[in-house]
């Protein structure tokens, strides 16, 4: 049996949701958005991810509904392909290969057989808008036709290109000019803003463009916060524009409502502005949306709109400007100061979220669980402001306590430092602020750690600071006769020759505290706070410090800035071994003796997994990623895996996640890519049908086999079930008092008819309405024809044995129904085809 020699590095979730504008389905039930290499389908009502459309091999850069069939979706990607999806079932229908890197995708109702994409052909910064004809072939993979140039020198951002509502022009903006291409005339008009040329520091660059769906009107957003509405642009001399100004910073995106009666705009103020009738006076606001609005999208039905935000969030907003759903992914802050942590209760990954917040992110469902507001202050989004940063956080006492440190340092001003201690409240299932310590130290806090102790011990916290001290905080009783209360107080202040304290760490049993003071590591007894011993290697400041776990608890590991990894034996108080390794992340696994160290080398970052007691590392993996690894953490697995390969054994109990400098969250997977790609939806279906008990494994397979044989019988059973519940006529019949009903003979045929129609109608609606899959559609209808007589017979039996001729009549009536139904469906299609 072969096994993979080494674990693969995989990107795990947390992709950006707000890279491109989200797209609503035609009935506003689903919201589609790009997410890394995937397209995600969310339900707008429940905020749940319904499907993940997987298939692209690189970043997906654009999605649009198919204008000729609104149940299909086009997507384009950096891998040079355009894919057509059935997003309701999550099926890939077709793939068109274009060959260039595709930056944006546009579709238009009047150009059914072609789509528009943004590509760059020659120079890296010259982008072109081209139209790509898509051939009509039954094959799954097809070469797209030769692209035809529409507009040259455009901006790569899809916000800077917009198609006119009637499809007769396309508008594109870049820098200081707006160019409009008319399809009929096949000509381009170009408009420049007059002031932009004269003034050197004029900030009226175009940032985005939107076209009115009905009228000939183009709205453009500018860097100085103005919105211009252009009219009469078909004549290069007679054009006019009006100006709307509310934003004080650049306009990030613009969108017209579905009917064009109002214009929506958003920017860095994180306020959604609705301009009614495009007038300056009548505007409405939805403030405090949390972060910069990146994109605004409006549903085709016009009842919903959504804003994508810089903090990886999509807010679905009703027409009355009320937020009704929030889809929140992993917030990518540019500075993850707290590092990665694992909440012991929820097993969620915890790190910096929105400014001043701590986010709890579920790794399993790639969803943010909740945000804990640490700073609790109004967030003012303005460039150049020094915000209060959440600098450090630590969990303690099995998740019962959370300590956070926030700081704000102006360039020359004094440091504002605050430490907060949060207690977990079982009733509200959240953290409540317990103690607030302002200015716990005189300088930045460099490390924070709780004593991992038994429940009987007093919770203890140690903070190490650059002011040369470490402080021990204990939970003390603060209650009097009026209330019961407990709060944290400072118990001990320690220092060592006034060196800066750089790190601190408790041993596994909580009996020893190690504090590193620049180059020296000091060991303190945690009962009496007495200095026991010091280690000094003269190899640079100690950056990382950790105790060995379990059988290796007699070892203390330290990594210095100058690139030395040392291991001290605490029993002999001597250096056990040391090696040259410039460690950037060192994390002990809480469930085993293993320690993972990520080192920086010329070819990227290397991972070393070792036991402190053994001279040889368990696993060495060179070049796990090309950039610097900032933080790492071991997340315990719920179910231990049984990997026998020596190089993978360290992944049995926990999984190692790490965060790189470009904010991507990576992990190691031992599974092959195919295994990893099995859609979770399938697994879910199997689980839903039967609970996975031992009995299931014994009998479930058997039943599946038998189920195939007795398919017909099962189907007839299925028919009866919905009939009595769903059809209003039947329910009415059953709930009306008997004495007011007409005679049973009169009702009988009516009743049966209603039964038949009711079971057919939903299946017809639910069928994939696919014009291109005609063969399949035919097969479907033939199946129905086969099934229908059976149902009719079934209904007849329940009725109490009607004569043979009656059954015949029924059959005729049924075929009539069938025809009607067909008609209905045809009507349906025509309605669908009209956008």
């Amino acid at each position: 049996m072969e096994e993979a020699a080494a674990a693969r590095v995989v990107r795990c979730g947390g992709s950006e949701l707000s890279l491109r504008r989200a797209v609503f389905s035609a009935d506003s039930k689903y919201l589609l958005c790009v997410s890394g290499d995937f397209v995600k389908v969310y339900s707008t009502a429940t905020e749940e991810c319904v499907h993940v459309l997987q298939g692209h091999r690189n970043l997906v850069t654009g999605i649009q509904l198919n204008p000729s069939n609104h149940l299909q979706l086009y997507s384009c990607s950096f891998d040079g392909t355009i894919k057509l999806w059935d997003y309701l079932d999550g099926i890939l229908i077709k793939t068109f290969t274009v060959g260039h890197k595709l930056h944006a995708l546009f579709t238009h109702a009047h150009a059914e057989d072609s789509v528009f994409v943004t590509i760059n052909k020659e120079k890296p910064d010259v982008f072109q808008l081209v139209s790509v004809p898509l051939p009509r072939t039954p094959r799954q993979d097809a070469e797209a036709g030769e692209p035809r140039l529409v507009l040259d020198h455009i901006s790569p951002s899809p916000k800077c290109v917009a198609f006119g509502g009637q499809g007769d022009y396309v508008a594109a903006v870049r820098d200081f000019y707006l160019s409009v291409y008319f399809f009929r005339k096949k000509a381009t008009s170009r408009f420049t803003l007059s002031s932009s040329e004269n003034r050197k520091h004029a900030k009226n660059n175009f940032t985005c463009v939107a076209c009115h769906p009905k009228e000939d009107c183009i709205a453009t957003g500018h860097k100085d916060g103005k919105i211009r509405l252009w009219r009469g642009f078909d004549d290069e001399r007679k054009y006019t524009y009006t100006c709307l100004h509310w934003h004080h910073d650049l306009v990030m995106d613009l969108a017209f409502s579905a009917t064009g009666s109002s214009l929506l705009s958003g920017g860095r103020e994180s306020v959604l502005v609705e301009w009614r009738d495009a007038a300056e006076k009548t505007k409405e606001f939805l403030p405090r949306l949390g972060a910069t609005i990146e994109h605004i999208a409006v549903s085709p039905a016009g009842d919903l709109l959504c804003t994508s935000h810089a903090d990886n969030k999509i807010i679905v907003i009703g027409r009355n400007l009320e937020a009704c759903a929030v889809i929140q992914g992993l917030v990518r802050d540019s500075r993850v100061l707290t590092g990665l942590m694992v909440d012991p209760r929820t097993k969620a990954l915890v790190l910096n979220g929105k400014p001043g917040h701590l986010q709890f992110y579920s790794l399993q469902s790639d969803k943010q669980l909740y945000n804990l507001d640490i700073v609790q202050q109004e967030y003012i989004n303005d460039c150049g402001l020094v915000q209060i940063e959440l600098a450090k956080a630590a969990f303690g006492c099995f998740g019962a306590w959370l300590a956070t440190v926030e700081q704000r340092q102006e360039r020359e001003g004094a440091l504002e430092l605050q430490m907060k201690l949060w207690a977990y409240n079982k009733k509200t299932q959240g953290f409540l602020l317990n103690t607030k310590v302002s200015a716990p130290h005189e300088d930045c806090i460099t490390a924070l750690c709780f004593r991992s102790a038994d429940k009987s011990d007093v919770p203890t916290l140690v903070t190490a600071s650059r002011d040369g001290r470490f402080k021990v905080w204990v939970l003390a009783d603060d209650s009097d006769i009026y209330r019961k209360a407990e709060g944290w107080t400072c118990d001990f202040v320690g220092s060592y020759h006034k060196y800066q304290a750089t790190n601190c760490c408790f041993s596994g049993d909580g009996s020893l505290l190690a504090v590193s003071f620049e180059e020296t590591v000091t060991l303190w007894e945690s009962d009496t706070w007495e200095l026991r011993s010091t280690f000094c290697q003269r190899a640079g400041r100690v950056r990382h410090l950790c105790f060995g776990r379990l059988t290796c608890s007699k070892y203390l590991l330290g990594a210095t800035e100058s690139g030395t990894l040392c291991c001290w034996n605490l029993l002999s108080c001597a250096l056990e071994w040391s090696t040259k390794l410039s460690v950037s992340v060192m994390e002990p696994d809480p469930h085993s003796e293993n320690v993972a160290a990520v080192a920086r080398s010329s070819g990227g970052s290397d991972l070393f997994v070792f036991k402190p007691s053994e001279p040889r590392p368990l696993c060495v993996q060179r070049g796990v990623c090309s950039e610097e690894v900032l933080w790492g953490v071991f997340v315990p697995r719920d179910v231990p895996e049984a990997l026998t390969s020596e190089a993978l054994q360290w992944l049995n109990r926990s999984q190692f996640y790490f965060l790189t400098a470009s904010q991507s969250l990576l992990t190691f997977s031992s599974k092959s890519p195919e295994e990893k790609l099995t859609p979770t939806s399938k697994q879910l279906l199997a689980e839903e049908s039967l609970p996975a008990t031992p009995f299931y494994f014994l009998l479930g397979r058997h039943r599946q086999q038998r189920g195939e044989q007795t398919d017909g019988a099962a189907e007839s059973e299925r028919v009866q079930l919905p009939a009595t519940e769903n059809v209003p006529a039947v329910s009415e019949l059953l709930h009306t008092p008997a004495h007011v009903l007409p005679s049973a003979a009169f009702l009988c045929s009516l009743f049966i008819n209603s039964l038949l129609l009711a079971t057919e109608a939903p299946s017809a609606e639910g069928m994939p309405e696919d014009a291109e899959m005609e063969e399949e559609g035919e097969r479907d209808s033939s199946e129905e024809e086969e099934a229908a007589p059976e149902k009719a017979q079934q209904a007849g039996l329940t009725d109490g044995g009607p004569g043979g001729d009656e059954a015949e009549a029924l059959r005729q009536r049924l075929s009539k129904c069938e025809k009607e139904l067909r008609k209905l469906r045809r009507v349906d299609y025509s309605w669908v085809a009209v956008p």
């Binding site: 405090r288 704000r408 302002s438 006769i481």
Partner: protein
């Protein structure tokens, strides 16, 4: 989306005594009225009936004072020797007192001469009390005996000779006419039942008992003696419930607050302590000028009267709450406007839509929410805010600084407004808790208004004042540094062994200093 988050007002812990409901309640008294008596005030007793006069026993006289009178409204002075323990009957019409010569005298409060005289004790009678049925008097004397007297025919009914030392305190049950308690210098407190002719419960206090007190329910007994106050559960046969040792000297008197929730004890260490009767923790304490011998609370705790060894009677009246009513009350909307629509019962098919409740915001928060920064600053620079709650002003200045608009908010002010800012700076700049924020603000003010200096004499004067303040502060800091240097030297001379401990101590000191 999340609503506006109000500005967090930084709170600073108040050093010293914590403000609790009790401190507020017990501090809500006017300055004491001092009345000089002829000798040590051994007993103060309030009449249980209106108008709540009180009898003060001092030397050989008993003075009756009205609640607000500073002169006695009546005096009983028919005693040959020192009088003791003038006590009102439950209906407030009779008064009984013991005396040094062994006599017990009963007075009608309207009359002058004693109604009855009970002769039988051979030594000084220090404690007398009426029983619950109002027709008997209990007395305890230095001849170790406790006697029960009948008022109508002034006869001795019973004599208990169970104590082996002076009987100095006693108390009759308020519920049962047959029960009473006496405390003696033989360290015991005994409960007697007149139906059995002997004590039914006896507890050992461990110290000469100075005062006893029965709770209104009769279930708990409090005894004071030595430095201890002890609480006994009589229903469990005299089990010690709690022993309190909060005084430095002998506890001389006990008293219950009118609600029964608080117990007061007075002591020779010149303190009155207030205990909670649920947790028996000290919740408040009063200081007096001399050793306290007697203590009484009026109906509804309206008055605290304390008698001291130097013959001074200190009377404290509760502050009246009439002041609040004197303000004309603003007419508020009728009650029905508040419940409008709230009491609507949901019908079967109704969909109830609740209007989101509006969060109350302070005025400065409302200004900040709408980015009216100058107005917000103006609001918190009002004298009413700067004097009472300077921390709010500082918090708003800090918030404006965080938003990067402090300079904008401070700019463009006229003479009156800028002098208001400067006044605030002068008043609070040197306070360590505000210094970091205000120094920054002061720098901005100086930067902005430097070009116009010399135009207004008022503002110039304020600037000079500020300068003087800063100079003074610098000198002070210098002195502090010098002191610290001296202390460092002292600690450096200590032995090597203690160096770690010393450095910790030093750190502590430094923190206190800073």
């Amino acid at each position: 989306m999340a609503g506006y988050k109000p500005v967090a007002i930084q709170t600073y812990p108040i050093l010293g005594e914590k403000i609790t409901q009790d401190t507020l309640y017990w501090n809500n008294y006017k300055t004491p009225v001092q009345i000089k008596e002829f000798g040590a005030v051994s007993k103060v007793d309030f009449s249980p009936q209106p108008p709540y006069n009180y009898a003060v026993t001092a030397s050989s006289r008993i003075h009756i004072y009205g609640r607000y009178s500073q002169e006695p409204i009546k005096t009983f002075s028919r005693f040959k020797d020192t009088a003791y323990c003038a006590t009102y009957r439950q209906d407030g019409r009779l008064l009984v007192a013991g005396s040094e010569d062994g006599g017990v005298q009963l007075f009608d409060i309207t009359g002058r001469a004693p109604l009855r005289q009970f002769e039988g004790h051979t030594k000084a009678v220090h404690t007398v009390d009426f029983t619950a049925d109002k027709y008997h008097v209990v007395s305890g004397a230095d001849d170790y005996t406790v006697k029960l007297w009948d008022i109508p025919n002034s006869k001795e009914i019973l004599t208990f000779k169970e104590h082996s030392d002076y009987v100095r305190c006693g108390c009759a049950s308020r519920l049962n006419p047959d029960l009473f308690v006496t405390g003696s210098y033989d360290h015991t407190v005994k409960m007697f039942d007149t139906r059995t002719n002997k004590s039914v419960v006896s507890v050992d206090h461990g110290q000469p008992v100075e005062s006893v007190l029965l709770f209104p329910s009769g279930g708990l007994l409090v005894s004071a003696g030595g430095r201890y106050v002890k609480v006994w559960d009589m229903l469990k046969g005299g089990q010690l419930l709690v022993s309190l040792k909060n005084h430095h000297k002998t506890v001389t008197c006990l008293c219950l607050s009118s609600s029964g929730q608080r117990l007061l004890s007075g002591s020779l260490d010149r303190k009155v302590k207030v205990y909670s009767t649920t947790s028996y923790k000290v919740v408040h304490s009063f200081d007096y000028a001399a050793s306290i011998l007697s203590l009484a609370l009026a109906h509804e705790d309206e008055t605290i009267v304390v008698g001291m060894t130097n013959g001074i009677l200190s009377v404290k009246h509760r502050k009246s709450e009439a002041k609040k009513d004197s303000l004309p009350r603003r007419r508020r909307p009728a009650y029905r406007t508040f419940i409008k629509g709230k009491n609507y019962m949901k019908q079967k098919d109704d969909i109830l839509i609740n209007r989101p409740s509006k969060k109350h915001l302070e005025l400065y928060d409302r200004d900040l929410k709408n980015f009216r920064i100058s107005k917000a600053l103006d609001r918190v620079l009002e004298p009413s805010c700067t004097i009472k709650t300077p921390e709010i002003t500082v918090s708003i200045i800090k918030e404006l600084n965080r938003r990067g608009v402090l300079a904008n908010a401070l700019a463009g002010r006229d003479e009156k407004e800028i002098s208001r800012v400067l006044n605030f700076l002068i008043r609070n700049l040197s306070q360590p808790r505000f210094a970091s924020v205000l120094i920054n603000a002061a720098e901005i003010v100086i930067d902005i208004y430097l070009p116009v200096i010399g135009q207004s004499p008022v503002v110039d004067k304020k600037f000079l004042l500020l300068q003087g303040l800063v100079e003074k502060e610098i000198d002070y800091q210098k002195e502090l540094l010098e002191t610290m240097g001296m202390m460092d030297m002292l600690f450096a001379t200590m032995t090597r062994k203690e160096s770690t401990a010393a450095s910790d101590g030093l750190l502590e000191n430094k923190r206190i200093e800073s």
